[in-house]
């Protein structure tokens, strides 16, 4: 059986520009949405009723940036540019397996704390359409 490896060095690009990120900080939410199942009965027979919540079909890319002066300014620009950003996440593990996801129509949704201190970090959250494989 082959060993499976966890990808630890993904790359993030916002509008075709590579972003400086903290290690072990990238989180993806595919945006496939939540679904609920309830049982109904018809003539005594139980029938599952499935309902998808479209409002939860939101893709997200979350990561942290080291709080350098450049990162503080870059993260401000992300917010200032508003919607219609494109965020790409990509990486290849040591076994050559590639991960690629693109978040389109994205906007930076949070207003992060920008820690000006030793080992300070900035948390960034982009939300948009469902992630697509790229």
């Amino acid at each position: 059986m082959e060993t499976e490896l966890i990808l630890v060095d993904a790359s993030i690009e916002v509008d075709d520009q590579t972003v400086l990120i903290e290690g072990n900080s990238v989180v993806l939410i595919e945006g496939t949405g939540e679904a609920s199942v309830k049982m109904a009965s018809m003539g005594g027979t139980l029938i599952p009723i499935v309902s998808e919540d479209l409002s939860t079909k939101v893709g997200m890319v979350k990561f942290e940036m080291p709080a350098t002066v450049n990162s503080i300014n870059v993260s401000r620009e992300f917010r200032a540019k508003g919607p219609e950003r494109v965020v790409r996440v990509s990486g290849t593990d040591a076994g050559g397996n590639r991960l690629g996801r693109t978040l389109m129509h994205a906007i930076m949704t949070n207003d992060p704390d920008k820690e000006i201190k030793n080992e300070g970090k900035i948390s960034i959250e982009f939300s948009g359409s469902q992630l697509v494989v790229s």
Partner: protein, 140 residues
Amino acid sequence: MAAVIVELSKTFKYSNQAGTEVECSFIELIEPTGKVSNTCCQIESFIQKGLMEMASMFSDDGQSSPDEQSKESKLDKKTILVMMNSSGAMDKIVINFRDLFKSVALMGGEKALTIPRMDEMSHKDFKELMVVYTENFILN
């Protein structure tokens, strides 16, 4: 001088201003401004060095030098590429072009070419961009 369009043999995707990704099939090269003069001059000096190297090789066997040829006709793409290689500093030329293209190359004629997208381009297309830019804006 007007912009020059270079068709790509291998397309790649870039993000447009509408928040989606579009296929990039061509790069528009625009004239350099004073802001990038230092980079252009560095590239030119490397190419001139290559020209001198070529001239010394040709003068040994009695053939006309590329310098003489260039007076007669415009340099073709193949000659420019040979001149770049003859400089012995092709790696430095590439590094300078990567820096230059961030300012003078537009993906799909609308958005500045970035380093991650250059990394996705094929080697053949990148060489073509360098040669076309040299032909039209560096040596012209």
